[in-house]
Point group: C5
Chain length 361, copies 5
């Protein structure tokens, strides 16, 4: 149901900050480490490793230089612990990197800021979320993606091209660029719901079948979870805008404001879709009710016309002994049959007029 | 569905502030530039151009003079970039001018204030929004309308007539005048919903058909999106009232308060219509249910009366050999037929009384 | 629908503060001006005029004296402009006096406070609102009522009797007295809904007809609009309590707090009625559904009993040639007829027991 | 409907603070006055009077002594006016004592604090509220109960026993004790709803009848009003906790916090019951719908089986002249009857299999 | 219904802070006392007692040493009073320990902080809450669990292992560890709802029966109560984060922030489940409505086909005297029977085409 919100439930009573590798079925894939060193006067250097030691050995002592380590896939708990020591990261934040399924949130510590985000992606028509975690320090940014596709490739390209503000090598601006990728991806995924809701609307007015209810319910259920995650994401960015921390440059505030604005648009969309899906279910119910009315009107018309007629025919099918003049003398009349048919015709006509007046026909 | 909220989705990973021309299908029309220079001691000058160079060349160095450049239609990304340099505009704000479908918002930068608004218009009974963007600086106002009809003509007329406060040539008052046009247009568009809801109400109590459900659903769906956009618009103006910025004169606050008040009324209307449409759907369902009850009561009356009668007629239509005195001796009775008819009449009368007591008749 | 909220829509592009007479169909009636001068050591003077000049000529130069001008009916735009000059009123506030249908609001200017309120009244079972506008200055109060009945007569009487605090001739206390009349009138009007809802409840449990749905829907629709107006009214008074302005005496705060408390009670009532009307519609739907169940159970009982019986009778009404010993030998049996009747009786009894067990009887 | 919220509507235009006796039908009962003087070094003294003069004559000039006057029943307006003078009470607060049905609220004046609360009680299965008003001064507490049962007897007992903090004779602590009685009584009354909702649930799954809908609707309607009153009560206590007034001792804050906590629990209960009653109505509707489905399935089974059979029997009941070899030769067949019965049996079997496959049986 | 919220209702008029043993049916089990002394330079000591005297006698005078007393089961009122004296606890807080069913809350007193939490557990598929109360002082933590299973065993183990921050022996960190256990247990319990909702969804699309409605209603009802309790729990932790008290170390704030974050996730889950269960009921109603439509269509088809046919057969079963040439001459025709059968076949075909066109087949 609410898969992302559930995530990996915390283990009761375990020491806070304890780093424990996830169970095999909660793993996401092999680790790839992307390291970039850029800014200052030296050249931009990029390396791709699968081993933490190799990634950490790159010297980065130059002045005004920013190191960005991006971890794609499962980071072993032991490596994470070493990272924590190397960069003075808070154990609770490290624990949150391992325990996927955190609510998007921002925790400011003395020497670094930790942010956890939810990156939506679509698998088999299901919208799921993968956790993206960020540590922003004075001269480093660490990012973790609990997935296996290289989401931040466009940002690496922009660093190589050294276009725009990213060339200043400010850690919070780089963090904004990563957050921006996450938010804009949400936008893309949400936009997909638009088309499916429009299709559903067209189908619903054409015919009603149960599968449609199942689809609408599944969509609402998913949007319930998404709304909560996306609201947290938007609040997290709002928190970031207001953050009073040495690591955050006033000049970069407009960028976070922009990201927050996009996150709010995404949230508005998710809420709008949820309300629309609800309205669709109401509409479905009204349509089904209208159709039932039509069907029952048909049935009632048929029954109202033919029951009296059949009854009359039944009466004259009785076998009373017509030798008694009191027993069904109509049977012996010369024009008995035409008379009965006439009576029936008059009945049908009368009903027809009655139904007309009640607007049933 | 939520067209305006969707707008032009941001491209994932693109450099923030990158100015990219929209795809051909997202273009709105050819560009017209209206330039006005007014205030100070000199005369008011107005020029209409289709080319940025021509619009920028007008000398405007006089003291206390305000330049207003209004861009109607698509502004090429290259021109926008030049404008940004000329007026020291923030790249993120410029990007928002190009990417239509922003949430109404206000961003205050050091030398200018950027506002994005949503101007509603009606096309084929659909309420859509077009983006209006404003830059307010010390001695300039830039406005952009992602549409092709000249919405701000009345404001230009007022400048020519130099009536009222607009003659003071304050940039924030001019911005207010433009915001006022956008809000009052929203009011006009919303007022149209009133008549359509009243028509729907009248129809719904007269007859029920499926088209009406479709119309109500479409209206609710649209109002879901409008509520969100109009709420952002109202919040944006509230933000403006509270803005502490050199460009905002305290004397002009009451005007923004007035615009915000109108925006709230528009939002109240949209919310009221949404609730009314919801109530209408509930009402429709109740009406359909009442009608079904009436139809089924009719059917049940008919069946309850005629089924027993037909059964009796059926019994006396059986062909048992009446030579046995045990087999349907009634058939041989002298008054068998009148007796049966009498029994039937008594039955009908009894049922009639029963239905009366249950208030079914 | 939401008549009051709609009010007189602003004209797009018109100069803010422009005073334009309403169209003939938006007029409310001829103007009567009530002028009172009281407080200080001199006597209380009251005059009733239909002409602004006459009303303005009364000398009021005495010390510590309060002038109250009440305008009942349509004030010509030209007169309003003169008033504005005489009392230094803000043009936007004057415009709001003319454009009926403002949201209740409070605008504090340097030399006066402007308040707009909504006075409910009932016409043909419809609850409508009339605008009451107030200007509160150092030594004057101007009030405007867009209607024709003299709502503030009791306040004038109290001034004549010089009872209580009103004799102090403080302009803000007089304003409170007027606001109090508006709020208490709302209370009276809302109380009328109580009786109608109770009647509706009684009716709904007695019988179901479509008119009732129409009445409930109309009531909800009206309450949607009233809730919004009354919430604004309550917020306006809250705003007044918190107002930090030279014209507001701290000693009079408790009075405004009292008015606000009453306005909140009125709002609570309107919200309560709206929820109750919603619950009533749910109840109606459940009742209709229960009745349908009863009707259908009846129909099913009848059909279930008589269809098999009629079938049996039909079988023995077939005309197979009984000369063949295989063709319906029952017809020739001595006790064929009683046997068939017996079988039918057993069938009915069985069904009766079956229905009993399923609690259908 | 919302009896308590309605209360005694304010009279339009009457002077604020005017003390007017309620109409005879709004009276609650004869007045009893309980006076206690306690604290300081002297003994606790208690007197019960029916006359204000007698109650006021008790000397209470000792130092550090607290006087508590409790008025049970209708207080004549004249007596209230005299009390107001004696204790310097604000006229608006006195008016609120007389006008029962105030929203729970707290008004802090210079020399006293006025609180109005709603005491729930049950009469004929209806939950109603009676107003309890409190004035808290330096050395006095005045309490008014618009009812006739002696609700504060336990508090008087505690004063006599001089147990705990009440012996300190602080006026605000005594006020807390009275508020505590009101809140805890609310709790008891609300707890009664629990049992009734559980009974309703059991009944609803056993059988459906209209009375139950009436009961649920009545409960929801009442809870709508209670929620509003209890929310005000909780807000009033929150207001009290935050009150910065000489009369409020910091040491007693935890007690008000405790009372507020209980008031919130009571409010949570009321809201929970309201939601549960709503869920119950939804459930009722679903159950009714399920039952209708079952009934109609039954009807359809019967009709589907017997209509074709009856038709076949009807065909062979036709009286075509069998002398023509083309007219119903089956009638003359030797095994005509068994053949027809066989065909019928095959039909029934086929339908049975069909219904099985559609899971209707 | 809302068992936890109801809890043990306060007794009206009883002295606040009075410690009264609960009635026998509200007792939870025999008392076990776990005492741990740890921190400083001395060894960690643990003792398990069933008697308060034994638990209190352990000397704990060493410097920088923390005493943790955990009470599992019913604490006699007399023992609680002695504890209160020994540790200077506020009587209101002690009363809340005895009166189970408090809303989760935090009360800060001068020398200690009192927190009350709700620990969920599952009994017979019902989610219930047990109260956990905490007193946090300078050098002691007292915890009370109104249940009988030893929930805090993992924390005791961690103290023995002296792993991580818990070895610092700070009272607020220990309190956090206990709060963490409560919150994480909530998470586990809530996760169980996920599976049950998924099962319900599968069942609902397979078949509809009333038991399912009962299950959904019961789930919603329970979640109504849980939402309220969990929201209070989350607010309580938020309150703790913001608490400015000597006993709270700034270094431990991130831990409470983490606990609050988990509590919010739990609350999000409960709200999500509640909305999902609501959507499920809507879906159920829509499905039932669709099924009814299908059934009625079937019935109408059958009736529409066979009623006219049976009527025709009935007509030719009438016994008119065919000696008159006007009476049913068709009976004597040579091809009368085939003609009638043909007419019937044409009728059936026509209806079939009609139903096809209306998409009923």
């Amino acid at each position: 149901m609410l898969h992302y919100l559930l995530g990996r439930p915390p283990r009761v009573g375990v020491r806070p900050g304890a780093l424990i590798d996830p169970e095999p079925d909660a793993r996401v894939g092999a680790l790839t480490i992307y390291r970039m060193d850029f800014g200052g006067d030296a050249d931009t250097r990029e390396r791709t490793e699968t081993d933490l030691d190799a990634a950490l050995t790159v010297p980065s002592q130059e002045d005004h230089r920013l190191t960005w380590l991006h971890f794609e896939g499962d980071v072993p708990a032991a490596d994470l612990a070493r990272l924590g020591e190397a960069y003075h990261l808070h154990p609770l934040a490290l624990e949150d990197v391992l325990n996927h399924g955190q609510r998007p949130k921002l925790d400011a510590y003395r020497y670094s800021v930790f942010a956890s985000m939810a990156l939506p992606f679509t698998r088999e028509h299901e919208c799921l979320f993968q956790q993206v975690s960020l540590f922003v320090g004075e001269d480093f940014v660490l990012s973790f993606h609990a997935g296996t596709h290289d989401v931040f490739a466009p940002v690496r390209n922009r660093i190589h091209e050294a276009q725009g503000r990213i060339a200043h090598a400010e850690s919070d601006y780089l963090a904004y660029c990563l957050a921006d990728v996450v938010v804009d991806t949400s936008f893309e995924v949400l936009a997909g719901y638009n088309d499916r809701l429009e299709e559903l609307e067209d189908e619903i007015f054409d015919n009603t079948n149960r599968d449609m209810i199942e689809v609408i319910h599944a969509m609402r259920r998913r949007l319930i979870g998404m709304k909560k995650v996306l609201r947290s994401q938007s609040e997290m960015l709002l928190h970031w805008i207001g953050l009073d921390h040495d690591l955050i440059h006033a000049d970069n505030r407009p960028y976070f404001r922009d990201a927050e604005d996009h996150a709010r648009r995404v949230l508005d969309l998710a809420e709008g879709y949820y309300e629309t899906a609800g309205s669709l279910l109401d509409t479905y119910l009204s349509l089904a009710s209208t159709r039932l009315n039509e069907i029952m009107r048909m049935l009632t018309l048929i029954a109202t016309v033919f029951m009296p007629l059949s009854f009359i025919a039944g009466v004259y099918g009785m076998n009373f002994d017509t030798r008694s003049p009191w027993n069904m003398p109509e049977l012996g009349w010369r024009f008995g049959y035409p008379a009965v048919i006439g009576v029936m015709a008059v009945l049908v006509l009368g009903m027809f007029l009655y139904f007309r007046r009640r607007r049933w026909l």
